[in-house]
Symmetry: C2
Subunit: 118 residues, 2 copies
């Protein structure tokens, strides 16, 4: 395939995926399709409300997810992955697979270090 640096479109995908919590949010929505705000928050240990809102807004802005508000008390807001968002799955899978192999690579590296020290 043609992938000249001048025609590099890698940044587009990277721009959408970059954000401390976006990959995990997308993985959850890819697995579940739809989740409400509080469910997401509970599924992602350590995230603050601000950051969850923030990352969701950015993903929504890119049409990767949709936001549905149920006008009721207490409020209920559901987030869903879009068809377009689902198209990111191959990238996330590729990254996950690479990351798994990367773990092994790091283990090998630290073992080599141990050998050198001894």
């Amino acid at each position: 395939m043609e992938m000249q640096p001048e025609l590099c479109r890698v940044e587009d995908a990277l721009g959408i995926l970059v954000g401390k919590w976006k990959p995990i949010i997308l993985l959850i929505l890819l697995q579940n399709g739809t989740k409400r705000f509080s469910d997401l928050k509970r599924s992602i240990p350590g995230i603050t409300q601000k950051m969850l809102t923030n990352q969701l807004r950015e993903l929504e802005e890119e049409d990767i997810i949709t936001r549905k508000v149920y006008p009721q008390v207490p409020p209920k807001v559901e987030y869903s992955i879009t068809e377009y968002g689902k198209s990111l799955e191959p990238i996330l899978v590729a990254m996950h697979e690479w990351g798994t192999a990367h773990t092994l690579h790091k283990m090998k590296k630290s073992q080599q270090t141990l050998f050198r020290i001894e």
Copy 2:
């Protein structure tokens, strides 16, 4: 495949790819195998020497590229992609392909906006 959020290894790949100039550097080295510093700089419009050095160091630290210094005057330093670094190619290709499609998506979106305005 197994891709539970708790077992998410996506961040590893993302961490290596994130950096304003890393993807373009990797694409160039994947295509050329080896390039010297000045060639890289010329191939990447807008990058400063500092940032090129910076990003190369980080990639080297992760064993994605290697740095070979020729002790001569004027200095010559060559950067090459490692076998390990080549394993990132599927991710970059997947992102590039997605980015290309993304361009079309954005075009459609702006057209819809135009229709709504008229």
